[in-house]
């Protein structure tokens, strides 16, 4: 970054100062009748409209931060946010608002909050809502709607938002009147995090938010019957305990539910007490420290060879908070084919949905693990098995070739950032090859430090997620934590406009672009399964991301060789504000190991010619 490129935040300092005084300078010639009173930043004291009831309900429920985009039908809610304790981050696009809210929730462990107007605002949110739904992330989306009398008439910016989002929300609501709207919003906020979390949505017709009301919203409560019993049935626990005791080759499989259920500590203690090797799913990354001797990292399509060997040969799989996604299981016929499955999940519908559970334990992850701990009398005799797992780690090490005559390898970049940062660093990603390398070559040790789009696989998730993660860390008074977004060139191009938000808010994030000028994962599949025909996967021209970053007002760095990596990492991390490092990496590098879609986990390929 050159000295001449003054940071916009410095230029904006005067404007900030103005809000600290009693208002704009009256001598600046503007019409005094539209003089702006500065926001108070205090919670709403007295409710007078539906919109104020909405905001008061959010404040009462504990919402601190919101991400959104303005627009006609949501304007009353925004006006009520003017004087509120909720900090609003104005995003560039509604999809970014939803992803930021989702990631905020993942990092903070409470529902994220996003807002959009009716019509295109609401439909733009849908990708982010669907993403949260697939990953069971707690989130509340508020959408403006045309006034009730216009609904159904194809009014300007009207979309049937409740209809459109019904399949991708845990539940959604259409607000009917100003008196009850606060309670509805409070209920939706609470519902998103009880039991199995998921996104909820409240559609807010403009007349409902504009109408007068003095109804103060009550406490945010999830509807009756939605908060499940945390304990599993005692007889089922006993039976599962006997199965674990008698296992010769036990494996713990920790999924995202371990992290969402705040069960990481309990899960760690459980695995260590009974000396059971641990495999995680991708969303479960961070539930168990990857530098622990027992940890085999994550299994599945691009999981480690040792995790896939262990999960293939285990005779007792203790699965916690996982829905056995096809990217984890590979072909069902060969998934842990000789294992008795103990399945702990808060959602009974996940039991035996994809993999039959011999020992179904419906309940909260931490509670049921404690129940199991109380019921197990003897540690399974698995010395040989642990030795086997350890040997697999040596047989199938996570390595990559980096010859001098080949371009910079993306894995090296991930390792460089990992080495330069602390364990509490938050990593976000887009979707594609870079996402796999970021999960494979970074050693995760803490829950809520890996923030990615797993189930939906949304390219472009990384940058808005980094914004949400940064806001969450700051809201938790952890401003020193680093937030790093590993992104692909294709992925970043989908949501790059959100960099304007990071600059405006001066958010300390580092975007590491693993730029191979391909939609790399598609290119890899085309090489493996489509005879190398690179249809619509090769970018003949990519913008220069370092210069684009500077145009946005961020720090931009370009890296082409190994010797430039360390200085760039250092400069980007030290920079106060958003930094983008465009790493031009080997375009032909593939993600390995790889289990072909529907294949057997135990038959993972270690090189392209094994596919």
């Amino acid at each position: 970054m050159s000295d001449s490129a003054a940071h916009p935040r410095e230029e904006g300092a005067d404007a900030d100062a103005a809000t600290d005084t009693d208002g704009p300078d009256p001598t600046d010639g503007t019409d005094p009748s539209v003089e702006e009173t500065p926001p108070t930043g205090d919670p709403i004291e007295t409710v007078t409209t539906g919109a104020e009831s909405v905001v008061a309900a959010l404040e009462a429920a504990g919402a601190e931060t919101a991400f959104g985009v303005q627009g006609g039908a949501i304007m009353p809610v925004y006006d009520a946010l003017y004087n509120s304790s909720i900090r609003h981050v104005m995003m560039a696009h509604e999809q970014g608002a939803a992803h930021a809210a989702d990631a905020y929730g993942v990092v903070a462990g409470e529902p994220g909050l996003c807002l959009a107007t009716s019509g295109p605002g609401a439909t733009n949110l849908v990708t982010g809502i669907a993403d949260a739904d697939m990953d069971s992330d707690a989130m509340l989306a508020l959408t403006g709607q045309v006034p009730t009398d216009f609904v159904g008439n194809d009014a300007f910016q009207e979309t049937d938002t409740v209809g459109v989002t019904r399949p991708v929300t845990k539940h959604n609501y259409f607000a009917s009147d100003a008196d009850s709207v606060g309670d509805v919003v409070g209920e939706a906020f609470a519902l998103s995090s009880v039991g199995r979390p998921g996104p909820t949505l409240v559609d807010l017709p403009k007349d409902v938010t504009l109408d007068e009301t003095d109804e103060e919203p009550g406490d945010a409560e999830a509807p009756a019957g939605t908060d499940p019993d945390p304990s599993a049935r005692a007889d089922a626990v006993e039976a599962a305990a006997r199965a674990i005791e008698s296992a010769d080759k036990p494996v713990c499989l920790f999924g995202g539910g371990v992290i969402k259920g705040e069960a990481s500590e309990t899960a760690r203690e459980f695995a260590r007490t009974y000396e059971i090797p641990v495999v995680t799913t991708m969303p479960g990354i961070g539930s168990f420290p990857e530098d622990d001797e027992l940890c085999l990292s994550w299994a599945g399509m691009h999981g480690t060879g040792y995790a896939n060997m262990a999960i293939t040969h285990t005779d007792c799989l203790v699965a916690v908070g996982t829905r056995f996604d096809d990217r984890l299981t590979g072909g069902i016929d060969t998934f842990a084919p000789e294992a008795e499955v103990v399945h702990i999940d808060i959602d009974p519908a996940e039991i035996s949905k994809n993999v039959y559970a011999d020992y179904p334990l419906v309940g909260d992850a931490a509670t049921v693990l404690e129940q199991l701990d109380g019921a197990i009398d003897t540690t399974p005799a698995a010395d040989d098995w642990r030795e086997q797992c350890r040997a697999w780690k040596e047989t199938y090490p996570m390595t990559y070739a980096a010859p001098d005559d080949e371009p910079l390898k993306p894995q090296f970049v991930v390792e460089a950032f990992d080495e330069a940062t602390d364990d509490d660093t938050i990593v976000t990603t887009g979707v594609g090859q870079h996402q796999m390398w970021a999960s494979q070559f970074w050693t995760y040790t803490e829950p809520r430090t890996w923030v990615s789009s797993h189930g939906l696989g949304t390219m472009g998730y990384g940058l808005p997620a980094a914004i949400g993660a940064r806001m969450a860390a700051d809201a938790m008074d952890e401003p020193d934590r680093d937030v790093i977004c590993f992104d692909g060139d294709g992925s970043l191009l989908m949501t790059m406009q959100e960099l304007s938000v990071a600059v405006r808010e001066n958010l300390n994030i580092t975007v590491a672009v693993l730029n191979n000028e391909y939609i790399g994962m598609v290119r890899q599949w085309q090489d493996a399964f489509f005879e190398g025909r690179h249809m619509a996967s090769e970018y003949n021209w990519m913008p220069e991301f370092d210069k684009l970053a500077e145009a946005f007002g961020a720090l931009g760095i370009r890296v082409d060789g190994y010797d430039e990596v360390a200085p760039a990492v250092e400069e980007a991390l030290a920079y106060d504000g958003p930094a983008v490092v465009d790493f031009h990496v080997d375009p032909e590098e593939n993600v390995l190991p790889m289990v072909p879609s529907g294949g057997a986990n135990g038959r993972f390929a270690l090189s392209e010619d094994q596919l």
């Binding site: 019904r166 399949p167 539940h171 060879g305 016929d333 294992a339 519908a349 390995l592």
Partner: protein, 214 residues
């Protein structure tokens, strides 16, 4: 820079377990695969009668590709509560999934399969050509049907009953040439004191039918 690419025995050089799972994720004998047969099941759900509840249920059925034969909905004696009756054709694990996924919908108060000996019935309106009115009336009488409309061109008959009776009747009316047909789909109640939806309390008009347990 150097370093090696990924090392280790290739896919064919590793040990592989003999065991297998079937499509439903059950461990199976690799030689004799146990197959689940598709069967008919009547599923009854007590739901809150709020806007969109039918759309939530039908959306769930379609997006999870459950095979349903019919779906009926109607109010109960309790204000704000409706009963949805679905006839599905699924394997046992499929039926289990339908019940569990239905139970996750917020407006669904209680849901379960109605036992095999439940009382089931369907209403059918049949319009046949009016060329042989006496014969039509005779067949209608045989199946306890009622003639709702008789004109020179067509005769419309109403029939009620369980599935086999209705199927037989439709076959019998076929000889006259069926012009149009409208069927409501099966609806059902459990026999005796067995609650139709699990946990549902016996209700008389005006008393809330709340489940005893969720």
């Amino acid at each position: 820079m150097s370093g090696e690419g990924m090392t280790g025995p290739g896919p064919d050089e590793r040990p592989h377990p003999e065991g297998r799972r079937n499509l439903e994720g059950h461990r199976i004998d690799p030689v004799v695969e146990a197959e689940h047969d598709v069967r008919r099941a009547v599923i009854s759900a007590l739901v809150e009668d709020e806007p969109g509840v039918l759309a939530r249920v039908s959306g769930l059925v379609s997006r999870r590709q459950f095979n349903i034969e019919s779906l009926t909905v109607g109010p109960t004696t309790v204000e704000g509560h409706s009963r949805i009756t679905m006839v599905v054709e699924e394997t046992d694990p499929g039926i289990d999934q339908i019940e569990k996924q239905m139970a996750k919908l917020k407006p669904v108060i209680s849901v379960g399969e109605v036992s095999g000996d439940a009382v089931t019935s369907e209403l059918v309106l049949l319009k046949v050509t009016g060329d042989e009115p006496d014969k039509v009336h005779a067949v209608a009488e045989m199946y306890d049907g009622q003639t709702l409309d008789a004109g020179p061109e067509t005769i419309t008959v109403q029939l009620t009953g369980d599935e086999s009776k209705i199927d037989d009747a439709i076959d019998a009316f076929g000889q006259f040439g069926i012009v149009e047909i409208a069927r409501t789909g099966q609806t059902a109640l459990a026999r005796g004191n067995i609650p139709t939806a699990p946990g549902e309390k016996p209700a008389t008009a005006g008393e809330p039918t709340t489940p005893t347990s969720q």
